[in-house]
Each structure stands twice: as C-alpha cells, then as structure tokens.
C-alpha cells in the first residue's frame, strides 16, 4: 500500500529535478517549440487556403498546436541514448523503476514547451481571431491527458528498439510521420477520404492529437475516451513485453 505514494514522491522529485535542469537550456527548448509548431502551422496555412471562410479550421489548428506542445515526447534522445552510451546500467541498478526517470524528464520537457510555446498559441489565435467555447475546452482535458499518455507510450515503445538497432532516430521518425499523417495534423480527420478516415479512426494516432483538438475546437469529429483507453492498455502491454525482452538482451550484451 505504501508503494503508490512512494512512487508518486519519486516521480515528483524527478520532475522537479528535470524542470530545474532544463531551465538552463531555454534557448534549445525554444528551438524545440519551433520544431513542434511548424507542422501544425503548415497544416493551418494549407487548409485555410482550401477553406478560407471556415473559422473551424483556425480553431482546430490552434488547438492542435497546443496539444502538440503539451504531448511532445523525446524518448529517442532522453532514453535511447542511455542504451547507446551504456549509462542505462546505472539506472537499472537503482531501487526504482527506470521508467520513472523517463516519465519525469518527459513531463518536465512538456511543461517547458507548453510555457514557452504559449505565446505562439496566443498570437496565432489572436491573428486568426479564433474564439473558443470554454466548456468544450474543459471537456477536452481528459482527452488531452489520455493523448499525452498515448504519445509517450508510442514514442517510448519505438525508443525501445534501441536495444536492437542503432537507428532509433529513424524508427521514431517513421512513427512521427505516421502520427502526422493519420493523427489529424496533416489534415483534420473529417476531410480525409472515407477509406482513410475509417482507418484513422481505428488506429491510435488520432487519439494522440486530433481527437483532443477537435473536442476543444468543438468540431465534433468521432472518437471517445473508451477508444483512447483501449489503446493505452494495448500500448502498455506491448511496452512491458518489449522492455523485458530488451533488458534481457541488454544484460546479455553487457555481461
């Protein structure tokens, strides 16, 4: 019974530590903010050119920018590099789950990106004269929490391939491209051709990005918390299996 509060305390400690550590790299964090907002901004410009009179496009993409900033994950850097340089061994020897440190770093980076990216979101919303229904924004919060979990699980899952290949950045890059295309950034899912839309609604990527954004924007596309939860459970299962296989292999390599 005492495990849960202890885990929470450890996570809180790691989060504080990482927030402070990253505070010295604000310029680099700013470049990460730019990296995060470029794809949704391109989507915004392109779809605004296609539907110049539709205010829902602007509202949706402003929400996508915010969701992207709040869910960005970089485990291919923060975790996989530890496999490559061997410092994962230190983490494995500590009397706490390795993933706690990874989650702490993830949350710290997201907090900084959200803080530094907020002016961009605000400026875009003001420039486009975008107005939100605040009840819809409030309703999007649980969707956003599950989206954040999904993006983390997906990126961490792909980052675990570092146990088998030294091309983890290519693997995660591939995952990012699928997210971009089917997650609602390249195009709002409602404008996809029928076949694509049906596939996108079933796969987890829409739940990572487009779903919370469309709930916040009130555009009323499909998807539910249940659909996100199912994918969280599936991805947790796959991550656990892959982690165990990876650590066994890592031990074999290092022994």
């Amino acid at each position: 019974m005492r495990t849960l509060p202890r885990t929470g305390a450890l996570l809180g400690f790691r989060l504080r530590q990482d927030v402070l550590e990253w505070s010295g790299a604000w310029w680099f964090l700013l470049t990460l903010v730019v990296q995060a907002v470029v794809a949704p901004l391109i989507g915004l410009f392109v779809w605004s050119a296609v539907y110049p009179d539709d205010p829902a496009i602007g509202r949706y993409y402003v929400a996508v920018i915010l969701v992207t900033l709040m869910t960005e994950s970089f485990e291919q850097h923060t975790f996989s590099e530890r496999i490559y340089d061997g410092t994962l061994s230190h983490e494995l020897l500590r009397p706490q789950p390795v993933v706690l440190g990874v989650i702490g770093t993830n949350l710290a980076v997201r907090a900084w990106l959200t803080l530094l990216g907020a002016p961009i979101v605000l400026l875009t919303a003001l420039a486009l004269r975008v107005g939100f229904d605040w009840w819809a924004v409030l309703r999007a919060v649980p969707y956003l929490v599950l989206a954040a979990a999904l993006v983390f699980l997906w990126t961490f899952l792909l980052s675990l391939t570092a146990f088998w290949t030294d091309r983890v950045h290519a693997v995660v890059g591939f995952g990012g491209q699928v997210m971009f295309l089917l997650g609602g950034t390249a195009a709002p899912i409602g404008v996809l051709p029928d076949g694509w839309r049906r596939v996108a609604e079933v796969l987890p990527f829409y739940g990572m990005n487009g779903l919370p954004a469309s709930v916040a924007a009130g555009t009323g596309a499909g998807g539910s918390l249940g659909y996100q939860l199912v994918w969280v459970v599936v991805l947790v299962g796959v991550v656990v299996v892959l982690w165990r296989a990876g650590v066994r292999r890592y031990t074999a390599v290092g022994s």
Binding site: T31, Q35, V38, R167, L181, A187
Partner: protein, 261 residues
C-alpha cells in the same frame, strides 16, 4: 581539382562504411520512402478537396516536392554530415582543431569532407517524383525552362551550403547556441509554395531566409518558363550567400583560439 579528388575519396570511404551495416541501410531506405510518401499523401489529401492550392495544381505540386526532395537529398548527403551540430562536434569537442592542422582548406574540410551516401536515396526518389509531376502536367516544360530550373537548383544548393556554413559560424561567437533543430524545422516550409503562407512569412521566406529558392522558384521556372530577372536574382543570391559564408568563416577563424588551448 584537388578538392574534387578529396570529395570523391571521402564519398568512397563513407559509402563503404555505410553499406557494411545492413540493418542501418534498411532503416535509412525505409525512412526515405515513408518520408516522401507522407509528404505526397498530405498533398494528395488536399487535392481530394480542391482543384488548385494557392494557384498550384497537383502536377505542379509534385514538381515542387520532387525538386525539394532532390535538394534535401543533396543537403543530407553532403552538407549535414559535416555541419550538423557543429557547435558541439566542431568547436566544443575540438574536431575543428584537427582540420586546421591538415593541408587543405579548413572550410572545405569542415563543410564537405564527410558524406552520407545513403541519403542520396532521397535524391533519386526526388527525381522520380519530379518525373511524375512533369508527366502529369498539362504541358511539357520548354528547353529554356529546364535550363533555368537546373541553374536555379544549383543556386539553391549553393545557398543551402552557405546557410549551413553561416549557421555553423555562429558557434565562433556563441559556442552554446545550437540552431540545428530550428534550421531543420524551417526547412520543412520549403516543401510548400510560398504563395500558401501569409504575407509576412512569405516575405521572410523569400528575402531573409530564402527557402523559396530551394524549391518554389526553380519549380516555377520549370513549369512556366525562364524569367531573366529571377535567374539573375537567383545567381546573385547564391553568389552573395557563398561570399558572405566564406568571409564569415574567415572572421570566425581569426577569433577561434582552439578547443584544446
């Protein structure tokens, strides 16, 4: 000539190193295909809802993506392996010290001596998409259009090299400043015609950070024929950017005292 021989030798060594790791080769090829596939798919989605986008038809967009991909392939193969993360690898870790001791131009060694031959897959795929776009276009490009496209692509590559060198030169004054992520993000904007973007961004991408020269301007020349003013401006921009890069590099070297000193 000596520099060309050096470039060839570096390419040959890099190629042998690359093909020795088959799994890496597999992932590089896969990523090149999926990256381009994603870009094309994103555009195809747009054209299921509209006939033109900012005055560009689907065929014209394919020409643009092909040109962009081709230049991106050249950048990834010959420029990025040398200048990516230069503040860290070149300055803070002292790799530049080694180049300064060698009997060849330090700018050449720092910016072009290494290569990543597998990235040329992007170049080949770019040629393929370019051919697809030309075949799908209403009318074939004229000889003048092809010649001006070629000239502007060369100008685009020179500007790309110069921008990378200028970015690397910042490290002489601010070794902790790391703008690679920013540069690679801004590069994504080159995949779309500047007409798509709002006016302030369009001006920025044409005159300040000339992403328009990477794909938009050469593609327009190929599809709509040569325009003397654009050709002169393109060549002048590349010459000016290259000259500025060389001068800034020299100024940076005068300031540089060595990582190990």
């Amino acid at each position: 000539m000596k520099l060309l021989r050096l470039l060839g030798a570096g390419f040959s060594m890099s190629l042998r190193r690359s093909v020795a790791f088959r799994i890496n080769l597999f992932f590089d090829v896969l990523l090149a295909f999926t990256g381009l596939g994603t870009a094309i798919a994103a555009v195809l989605i747009v054209f299921t809802r509209a006939d033109t986008l900012a005055g560009w038809s689907m065929a014209q967009f394919l020409v643009l993506i092909g040109t962009y991909q081709l230049i991106t392939g050249l950048r990834s193969a010959f420029i990025d392996p040398n200048l990516s993360w230069f503040p860290e690898t070149g300055i803070r870790n002292g790799k530049l010290d080694g180049y300064l001791l060698q009997p060849a131009s330090s700018l050449f060694l720092s910016s072009l001596s290494l290569s990543s031959p597998l990235q040329l897959i992007q170049f080949v795929l770019g040629i393929g998409v370019l051919g697809w776009g030309i075949a799908a276009a209403d009318r074939s490009p004229s000889v003048g259009g092809v010649a001006s496209w070629l000239l502007l692509v060369v100008a685009g590559v020179v500007v790309t090299w110069a921008l990378s060198v200028l970015l690397a030169c910042l490290a002489f004054w601010a070794p902790k400043l790391q703008l690679d992520v920013f540069y690679h993000s801004a590069w994504q904007l080159g995949r779309y015609p500047t007409d798509v973007f709002a006016r302030p961004l369009r001006i920025l991408l044409t005159y300040v950070f000339p992403m328009a020269l990477i794909a938009s301007i050469p593609s327009t020349a190929l599809l709509r024929g040569p325009r003397l003013g654009v050709l002169v401006a393109g060549v002048a921009a590349s010459g000016g950017a290259a000259g500025l890069a060389v001068l800034t590099w020299r100024a940076g070297l005068r300031r540089y005292t060595g990582a190990t000193s």
